[in-house]
Symmetry: C2
Subunit: 234 residues, 2 copies
DNA sequence: CGTAGCCTTGAAGGTGATCAATGTTTGTGG
DNA sequence: CCACAAACATTGATCACCTTCAAGGCTACG
């Protein structure tokens, strides 16, 4: 695993300050929460955690994106969540005395994350109600995503895809562009929705032809926002 | 809404002590956490919370079961979770300054729950890292259920149903019987899996004929446990 | 230049949805 | 206690949507 480990730079730290996870917390507390942590830099498709890894650390996404993936019995992958800047990966597992990662976390394009040892969690995160509450909120949001997903179970494929794209667009850091900044393959969209690549391609090809979306270098641009909204509304 | 409100009895309190949410906490702390709370007794199909209700309280399930339901645009319901004894309902919403319930919680058979005012949450739950961690664990478990669900997206219907039944069986308080103690209609199974009633019935009727399951008074008994396991394994 | 990863297209087939009708059980009020 | 309604279960026929399988093309990169 050729990922690069670095101390936390000043620049990294100022980025961290903007995370909603640390909103309203004092700088000194944040420094404690990040003690002994390291910045990991990963290339496309490299994994921070593999399914089955011991949970002796957790991560905060600093830059780029990671897909949280669970392999199924049949060999195909299911993507549980796209983690982007500010998202915690595996933080909840720290409460368990000993455990293994139930998912793999793989970089989508060049990405970086802060790795925080379990010892730091036990020392500073575990005892602090404020940060536990923040973790709660983040978890709640992620749960909402899963629930929204479930609510779409009976919806036709085009509605599922449209919803996914608009949700990801919503989480983009750049608000004035209709560009999904996470590099997404059709396969990943399929794995996230629990459908086949071919079906995704058939739907999205049609959208491309109708000028609703455009793909450049794995980044999807929503050209006709309203068309997608209409598809969702049915 | 004819639900009955009562003070917390001694018997209720001792039941609460067995909840994993309060495991290892002192009696005095638990009393604080439950201050100003009331026991609600509900009949079949009565709701503790309706979608859109103000979040000025949350609940702990004391007895029976509740389905957490979200209505979809098309009019059909989606069941997000079956909450049983010890499960918190809406606890995470207490962190938000002001919000509305995104789901309805409806009793499945005669059930009871402890209603805890938001003020109590803010006074005793919010500041306490220990109970926040417990909430985290519970939330993590519920998230795991949703993820397991998602992993089954591509599985055939019979595997989905079998998995649901075995999961519910697993949560039964009585361990030596193969009886699902939550009264379940076929419609509810369908709503939980995001499929149609007819499909559920066709599958389960076949199982009944083959003697794999039996239904008495809305309670499902797993007669041939191994058969269901085989179906899941495919 | 060859491989790896991703995208595309077509044809065939199956699973579960839809629609419609009917039976069964439970509960309620006169 | 009966009549009626409401909730739940069942069955059949038809059909759409998505999967599956198979083949081939494109682009990046060592």
């Amino acid at each position: 695993m050729p990922m690069n480990k670095q101390e936390l730079s000043q620049k990294d730290f100022s980025k961290v300050l903007s995370f909603s996870l640390f909103e309203g917390l004092s700088h000194s507390l944040i420094k404690e929460l990040l003690s002994q942590s390291r910045v990991l830099t990963l290339n496309h498709r490299e994994a921070i955690y593999q399914c089955g890894d011991k949970t002796d650390s957790f991560c905060l996404v600093l830059d780029g994106a990671f897909k949280l993936v669970r392999p199924t019995a049949k060999g195909d992958d299911v993507i549980m969540y796209f983690a982007t800047a500010g998202d915690a990966i595996g933080a909840l597992l720290m409460n368990k005395p000993v455990a293994e990662y139930p998912i793999s976390a793989k970089a989508m394009g060049p990405s970086s994350a802060i790795s925080i040892p379990k010892a730091t969690y036990e020392l500073y995160w575990s005892k602090n109600a404020e940060i536990q509450k923040k973790l709660n909120s983040q978890l709640y949001n992620r749960m909402t995503v899963l629930q929204d997903d479930k609510a779409l179970a009976k919806a036709p494929l085009n509605q599922k895809i449209a919803t996914l794209l608009l949700n990801l667009l919503d989480r983009s850091p750049v608000k004035d562009e209709l560009l999904i900044y996470v590099p997404l393959t059709r396969q990943e969209i399929a794995d996230s929705l629990g459908v086949t690549v071919e079906s995704v391609i058939r739907t999205m090809s049609e959208w491309s032809q109708r000028g609703i979306i455009q793909t450049h270098d794995k980044k999807i641009e929503i050209v006709k926002f309203n068309e997608l909204v209409n598809i969702i509304k049915d």
